[in-house]
């Protein structure tokens, strides 16, 4: 157990399932949960339906219906609208899906563990018939005619699609602040844990203007899961876009091995690094979702051929055979002391439980972010070439010439961040620069990947690193640096994993002195996602990360809701 000076909030008393069915959502938030309510016994009295597996059991037993679940999530989405987690709420679709799930449950044959369970999807996954914007003017109003493979797989399992979540434009960013629909607010800004600490520490500042960023770019998905508006959400992870907001929002963020999960339908950032990410409230849930999503997709030639079966994670009782590597290069000067100390504590925890914990070296780490920048922008330049206003998406009014139309369309459609990356990428790909930049970066990428291979070949099972430099910062603080600087800083611990194609998961460990979540990252061997998650699950169980308490949000933000209501009324 983590015993430290940080605000480690003990779980509140667990509520009874019947209580859950009666309580209002705000009450439900208040209730904590005991950590060992996973699939493992004992789990008699303590059920509060925060996790997929719990709610799945409740659905099967008829204690709650899919429609009830759906409506509660919908009402929560409305109540937390100011978080800006969702770009599109697919209420009608979700209710219809819930109705069908309900019929199946009544007949006694559900489609699986996700049948009737609300999920959310980042707005860069194509969803048939539902607008998919990438938070960009370029794709505003674009309704894909097909589902991304991962979306289809979730729907095939009966999951209810609540909506499409907010992000940085085309997933380029680390704050979820740079999309056309505005920034996502971190639900922890409104948590009891954070508010109490602030009252202690600060003099009466304007609370509302100090809301925190979620991290990004899958901030909408992280906030949606964190604020209980869904049970699991899809993010995407190119340089840390799933793990980073997961760490800031106190949820589990899994980046599977490259090639394990299909990218078909994911609007690409960097094809060679993109992976659909999974955001959940616990490691078991991430494993459940991964079991559904993983496997070969004939529509994505980079997915593995071997079949993957759904799996449940074993509960580790003995970690003495584990070897945990601590990469020394990840101890950077920018790392906050608090994250540093939690990282050490985590290492100590493994060691005290009998695991072998060793310092390892990933010598090319320092070149990683520059290398990532070159490769990322080059692929971005290429991938964004298709947005010319002809086949779909935004098209400018000008019709002087085709070239003028392209230029104006792209000028209007993309924000500065996207255009900046396109510009650098095209520079790196120029014939005269290709060898000096792109080819070199590819070579460095290989060295970085080899660093990991060498470490794993030396007997290390998983690597333990921080996910982020610090806890989430206020928006006002965050925007003092530009997107490029921020991305370079914030992806520091995460992007190397993408270049190597490895699986990694961010697990929330504890709250900072400010009452904000801090996550740590586990990195596994390629395609050893299950082993990685098994270790993460053991860790999760040890640290007993507290449930977010959002009671105050309801009170403090009631005025916000009122305003929203008025606004929507006046619009009609």
């Amino acid at each position: 157990m983590v015993k430290d000076g940080c605000a480690h909030v003990k779980p509140a008393a667990a509520t009874d399932l019947s209580v859950f069915l009666l309580v209002t959502w705000s009450l439900w938030w208040q209730t904590g949960h005991e950590d060992h309510v996973g699939p493992d016994p004992p789990r008699s009295e303590s059920n509060c339906l925060l996790r997929v597996q719990e709610v799945s059991v409740a659905l099967k037993q008829g204690q709650v219906t899919p429609t009830e679940l759906c409506q509660r999530c919908l009402s929560l989405i409305k109540k937390t609208k100011f978080l800006n987690a969702y770009i599109t709420v697919s209420e009608e679709v979700a209710l219809k899906q819930a109705e069908e799930a309900e019929k199946r449950y009544k007949k006694g044959h559900s489609l699986g563990d996700l049948d009737g369970i609300p999920i959310a999807v980042k707005d860069n996954f194509s969803t048939s018939g539902i607008e998919t914007t990438c938070a960009s003017n370029m794709l505003k109003g674009y309704v894909p005619p097909y589902n991304a493979t991962v979306v289809q797989k979730l729907l095939d399992q009966g999951a209810l699609l609540m909506g499409k979540t907010n992000l940085d434009e085309f997933a380029m960013g680390s704050g979820s602040t740079d999309g056309i629909f505005g920034p996502v607010k971190n639900p922890w800004s409104y948590s009891k844990q954070y508010r109490e600490k602030r009252k202690q520490n600060s003099h009466s500042e304007n609370e509302d203007s100090n809301w925190l960023i979620t991290g990004g770019s899958s901030g909408g998905s992280a906030a949606a899961v964190s604020a209980f508006t869904c049970f699991a959400a899809l993010g995407s992870d190119t340089g840390g876009s799933t793990r980073n907001p997961a760490a800031h929002c106190g949820v589990v963020g899994l980046k599977p091995s490259y090639g394990l999960v299909s990218r078909h339908g994911l609007i690409p950032l960097v094809n060679s690094m993109d992976v659909p990410g999974i955001l959940t409230r616990c490691v078991d849930d991430a494993a459940t979702v991964l079991g559904i999503l993983a496997g070969h997709d004939p529509k994505d030639s980079t997915t593995i051929q071997d079949p993957v079966k759904p799996f449940t994670l074993p509960s580790l009782t003995d970690v003495s055979k584990l070897c945990i590597g601590i990469p020394k290069e990840y101890l950077t000067p920018e790392l906050s002391s608090e994250v540093h100390s939690l990282w050490s504590k985590a290492a100590n925890l493994f060691e005290s439980e009998g695991a072998k914990v060793i310092e390892v070296s990933l010598p090319h780490t320092s070149y990683s972010i520059v290398c990532y920048h070159v490769l990322c922008t080059s692929e971005v330049a290429s991938n964004m070439a298709r947005f010319d206003g002809l086949e779909y998406g935004h098209r400018c009014d000008s019709s002087v010439s085709t070239e003028a139309m392209y230029a104006a369309t792209r000028r209007e459609g993309f924000n500065d961040v996207v255009r900046g990356r396109i510009l650098s990428g095209n520079f790196f790909l120029l014939k005269e620069n290709y060898e000096n930049y792109f080819v070199k970066a590819q070579k460095v990428r290989r060295l970085i990947a080899n660093d990991f291979v060498n470490v794993f070949n030396s007997g290390v099972d998983v690597l333990l690193t921080p996910t982020t430099l610090s806890e989430a910062v206020p928006y006002t603080e965050f925007i003092k640096e530009d997107n490029r600087t921020r991305s370079a800083q914030d992806d520091i611990f995460t992007q190397a994993v993408n270049m190597a194609g490895l699986p990694a998961v961010s697990v929330p460990m504890a709250l900072s002195t400010q009452g904000l979540p801090i996550g740590l990252q586990f990195i596994g061997r390629a395609f050893c996602d299950q082993q990685l998650l098994t270790v993460a699950k053991w860790f999760e169980k040890q640290v007993q990360f507290p449930v977010i308490q959002l009671q105050e949000l309801m009170d403090d933000c009631s005025s916000v809701f009122e305003n929203e209501k008025l606004a929507s009324v006046s619009l009609k």
Partner: protein
Amino acid sequence: MAAPMLRWCCPGRRFAFARVGCGSCHRRGPPTGSTSNGKRGQSTVAQQPHITAQKPRKGEREWAAVVGLEIHAQIASNSKLFSGSQVHFAAPPNSLVSFFDASLPGTLPVLNRRCVEAAVMTGLALDCHINRKSLFDRKHYFYADLPAGYQITQQRLPIAVNGSLAYSVSVGRKPSQMVTRTVRVKQIQLEQDSGKSLHDDLRSQTLIDLNRAGIGLLEVVLEPDMSCGEEAATAVRELQLILQALGTSQANMAEGQLRVDANISVHRPGEPLGVRTEVKNLNSARFLARAIDYEIQRQINELENGGEILNETRSFDYKLGCTVPMRDKEGKQDYRFMPEPNLPPLLLYDSGSLPPGADPQQVIDIDRLRERLPELPRVTRERLVRQYGMLPEHSCALLNEVGLLEFFQSVIKETRAEPKKVTSWVLNTFLGFLKQQNLAVSESPVTPSALAELLDLLDRKAISSSAAKQVFEELWRNEGKTPAQIVAEKKLELLQDLEALEQLCRSTLEAHPHVVMDLKRGNPRAINKLIGLVRKATLGRADPTAIKEVLERQLSS
């Protein structure tokens, strides 16, 4: 239409030109006897280019021309290179477009096995080295009919390299004086076709048809081993025949299934190569030859007049018969090549390297494809010469027309007539009729069996050759009658009644005493005149040898 303008060329790839004073380069000479035939794309190539060596006249300066080709052949496959859309020519616009073809965000390429096999087979047929590992790249440029903003191609490591293509050209006056030349094949790469832009100048708008977007192409790069339009056209023709024999491309130039870009430069022998121009979008072999020859002449004139050649892209204006610079994008472009990240390296195997237990659906075995290669045109021609004793140029002619060889072989199979006779009938009479009416072999009203039956009649001397021609004309009218029926109806069978023939001969001799006198005076040709008169009297139904026999007997008695 003017035939290929100049007959310069070309042993040793040297040209001799007069220092032409006239600025005009499109000298339109009278047709030079080149056998350009008809409008069909597959048959527009001069069958046997007559390449005449001309000695440089004194005081003239020599130029050598260097021609290399980039040929795009549409792969004959049911679906596109990276998507499941169907491939059809002339389907309604935008009816064969998958989400991937329209570059909808999030779609990914999935390689079509059939296209890979086509590339490997073509590579094998051209004696290429097949790369066991090849890679795909993105080539970027903005164009309205390129929806993704890039084309997926094989720039770094193509599927096949270092091959050769042999083709025959005739030199000198006799068509049978044929020389085999070889052009090196630099590489064969797989790539996507683009869509089509239709510019509506009236309404100043551009319409895009994406049916073609994403169809698999084989880009065959021929090294600059050619030196004139005829050589280039003949090499292309040979490649076309090979592709058709393999079935890897229909290679119909008129339908755009085979498109040729030519790189052309001139220099003085012994000096470094000159600056080259690229002539694009040559969609018939005839235009290819004309465009190249025009461009060579233009460059020479330019240099002779003290000008310089720009490294530029030009297009061939087939109406004016000249090349003109292309104004737009195609100038200097940086294509910003990049590896295609969504396609893993393409790995091919041979029987030695095939991983054990590999799913045959998942791997491509080069050796198995090699076993399945059909007979190639060169081998077919050699076989025809060997098997039927025909002249090499006849074997060429048989292969040059789609379906003609099959027609010939069917006739041979069913008739007792000599192969030489069959060859002559197929190449002269039958092909002549087709050309006259601009028909394809498949559209012929005369079936191989009918022709075989006719040749049988001829062979057993039931009819004369001239009667046979008549029967053939009847058959061509296609009234459903067999040759035998026509012969019977028209009373065309040879006179078998010797007595009647004797009678006719006697009356002919009596009616033409002066010819008989002539003969007796010692003019041996007079007998032919008599034979002709008797034949006329028999309405062509008597065998000249038999007539001659009877006449000689009667005259000597």
